[in-house]
């Protein structure tokens, strides 16, 4: 979420660092939104990724209604990996915008991106897709090239979230990318994971926060 910023009457060299709180807010909003999404009968292990993402997006908006945290959940949008790319080359699932940053900068690109994938620890194809079609879009700079932190969501179709993480990490081991492994972190009360990925210069590395959301009739309760 590295945003260009207009000249302001702020002075001083170091600003208060709210990044951990921003990450926590987004993870909590994801959890609250998913809770609401799961009340819909069509959110189940047979549902497509797009339907679950639409339900999640609606749930997040509802969770943020009347919240003092002025985050905006944008519709899924076509995106361009660089300003030099004219035709959209990606489709971000859940872009987030912080309204104050937008109002100050008129920065239309999202300030955080959440990419969503179906996953199950026992399904090596889905674990690979989570990496190749998800994580690697951030690592390659296709998504969030100017962001330092972004987010991944895994809809756990069967098993438990730890098994899904194991499946993803097992794939990373097989392709000799152990540095990219997901590790558990304590940001909020519920379990989430973190990974860090090098990017081509001049970009710095990107931190990804992963939330694995249990799909009611497929996944085992944890």
């Amino acid at each position: 979420m590295r945003i260009p910023y207009e000249t302001s009457p702020a002075l001083g060299r170091e600003f208060i660092e709210l990044a951990p709180e921003v990450v926590a807010v987004i993870l909590l909003t994801l959890g609250a939104g998913w809770q609401q999404a799961c009340s819909a009968a069509d959110v189940n292990a047979d549902a497509g990724e797009v339907l679950m993402t639409e339900r999640l997006r609606d749930g997040m908006r509802s969770a943020l209604k009347n919240s003092p945290l002025k985050l905006i959940v944008l519709p899924g949008t076509e995106s361009r990996s660089k300003s030099s790319v004219l035709l959209p080359d990606g489709r971000t699932d859940i872009p987030l915008m912080m309204i104050e940053v937008f109002l100050r900068t008129q920065e239309h690109d999202p300030h955080a991106i959440i990419e969503c994938k179906r996953i199950a620890g026992s399904d090596t194809h889905l674990c690979r897709e989570y990496l190749v079609e998800g994580v690697d879009r951030f690592a390659s700079g296709k998504y969030g090239e100017n962001h330092a932190v972004d987010f991944m969501v895994g809809y756990v179709l069967s098993g438990i979230s730890a098994a899904a993480v194991s499946g993803v990490n097992a794939y990373l081991s097989r392709v000799s990318r152990t540095a990219d492994r997901l590790v558990p972190v304590v940001f909020i009360d519920s379990q989430t994971w973190h990974s860090r990925h090098a990017r081509a210069k001049p970009s710095d590395f990107i931190d990804l926060h992963h939330a694995f959301l249990m799909v009611a009739d497929g996944a085992e309760s944890e």
Binding site: L11, R13, F15, E21, P68, K70, E100, Q106, I188
Partner: protein, 441 residues
């Protein structure tokens, strides 16, 4: 009128910059033209936005960011009053123009015998019970008989001495003059008429009119039909049936029989906020909007530039600022923020508040500390600690946020208008937004 649309600075071709230069304050200053607009007075608005939502043009000129955000939310969440009245096959109409005798060209006989509501016959929620009887056969513009059919939701065009609209309901047919406009509602919608009278009299309506009305809020005190019809209102039937709606109806019934006290207005406003489902920060924005609408009158303008009291207005500012920051810190419960207000003497030109970030969970707290010297000593100490030349900066920018690793110091002129709740919300928003600059969020 203090608003200005600054096209002279050659903004990008698709942008207009609008600034509220706070001329209400400067007007009272001999050299007001020399005083600069502040950065926080400037809002950028794309031409596309203006075309999509014309209400925003004035709002961007006289309002602030939080005003625009709330305006956006309300207009997206609710249909406007005019559209909802149209579903009931009614709308606001201007009243009778009797005019000079030489202009009495139209037949007014069907109005004869009805009571006549004239300029001074209506107060908040009350219609005088000794109205005169209309007895002319002709008038310049008598209007159609059916627009005078009860129940009538009547709005007075001019506000008197304060920024709340004067609205009442007539439960019997009557003629209103053109110093009013009114909507004749279906007979079975009496409760709705009374509920709308409360909504239109509330701080929320005054805030909205101040931001969007074509004349009201531009050193004129007049409401037009269009202004009122643009007000977003909750869906009629659910509003009347809601708990907040029922509270408003009970209070309106009481206020038809007695004077409205200051405490009644607070009750009206809170119930209207509940009706709209507004959160705490939105209530701050609207209460401040009512205050700002009061700057149309000299008393309000003068009150806005009275030096703020560190223990009252500045303390309230600090509490509101912390409420925004608490919203972020409470998510992880790992850190909290507290405020220290420097207790400067009333005659000091500036006020200073320091917000300090501390480890551990907790609620924001506000304390008042001894300045330990004069204002210049206070500024010098802050500047030395945070390695910033404050004296130089404050001569160029009248509002400053001075940042340190775990603190931010807010320095502003002493006038109350700089320490309003909406300023606190926006200053806190700025601190949050500035934390994005580091690129680690």
């Amino acid at each position: 009128m203090g608003a200005l649309i600054d096209l002279s600075q050659l903004p990008p071709p698709n942008m207009v910059e609008a600034a509220s230069a706070g001329a209400h304050e400067y007007r009272l200053h001999q050299n007001w033209r020399e005083l600069p607009a502040m950065i926080s007075d400037i809002i950028k608005l794309s031409l596309g936005e203006i075309e999509k939502q014309p209400l925003k043009l004035k709002a961007a000129a006289v309002g602030r960011r939080r005003d625009l955000m709330l305006l956006d939310e309300l207009t997206m969440a609710h249909r406007n009053l005019g559209a909802q009245l149209a579903f009931l096959n009614t709308k606001f109409r201007d009243g009778l123009t009797q005019g000079k005798q030489e202009n009495w060209g139209l037949d007014a006989r069907e109005l004869k015998g009805l009571e006549l509501l004239q300029t001074r016959d209506m107060r908040h929620f009350q219609i005088a019970d000794d109205l005169s009887i209309y007895n002319h056969s002709k008038a310049q513009r008598p209007r159609a008989r059916e627009i005078y059919r009860a129940p009538l939701l009547i709005v007075k065009e001019m506000s008197l001495g304060q920024p709340r609209a004067i609205v009442a309901v007539a439960d019997q047919d009557l003629i209103f003059t053109d110093s009013y406009f009114a909507a004749s509602l279906p007979l079975h919608q009496k409760q709705l008429a009374h509920l709308l009278a409360m909504v239109l009299s509330s701080a929320l309506a005054s805030w909205f009119f101040g931001l969007t009305a074509s004349e009201f809020g531009t050193y004129k005190r007049k409401l037009l039909i269009r202004d009122v019809e643009m007000l977003p209102v909750p869906e009629f039937s659910s509003a009347v049936g809601s708990a907040a709606g029922q509270r408003l109806l009970a209070l309106e019934k009481a206020l038809r029989e007695r004077e409205v006290e200051a405490e009644d207005w607070n009750t009206v406003d809170e119930a209207v906020f509940d009706l709209y489902g507004l959160g705490d920060s939105d209530r701050v924005v609207i209460r401040d909007g009512l205050l700002r609408a009061g700057w149309q009158w000299e008393d309000g303008r003068e009150a806005s530039i009275v030096p703020s009291d560190s223990r009252v207005e500045v303390a309230s500012y600090a509490g509101t600022f912390l409420s925004v920051m608490d919203g972020w810190f409470s998510v992880r419960k790992k850190r909290h923020m507290r405020a220290e207000i420097v207790d400067l003497p009333k005659e000091a030109a500036l006020r200073v508040v320091r917000f300090v970030l501390e480890d551990g969970p907790g609620q924001g707290s506000v304390s008042v500390i001894n300045p330990d010297g004069e204002l210049r000593n206070v500024l010098a100490r802050i500047g030395k600690r945070l390695k910033v030349k404050i004296a130089t900066a404050v001569s160029a920018e009248r509002e400053l946020r001075v940042h340190g690793r775990n603190e931010v110091v807010i320095i502003k002129p002493a006038a109350r208008r700089h320490w309003m709740g909406i300023a606190a919300l926006e200053d806190a928003d700025a601190v949050v937004a500035e934390s994005f600059v580091g690129g680690r969020a």
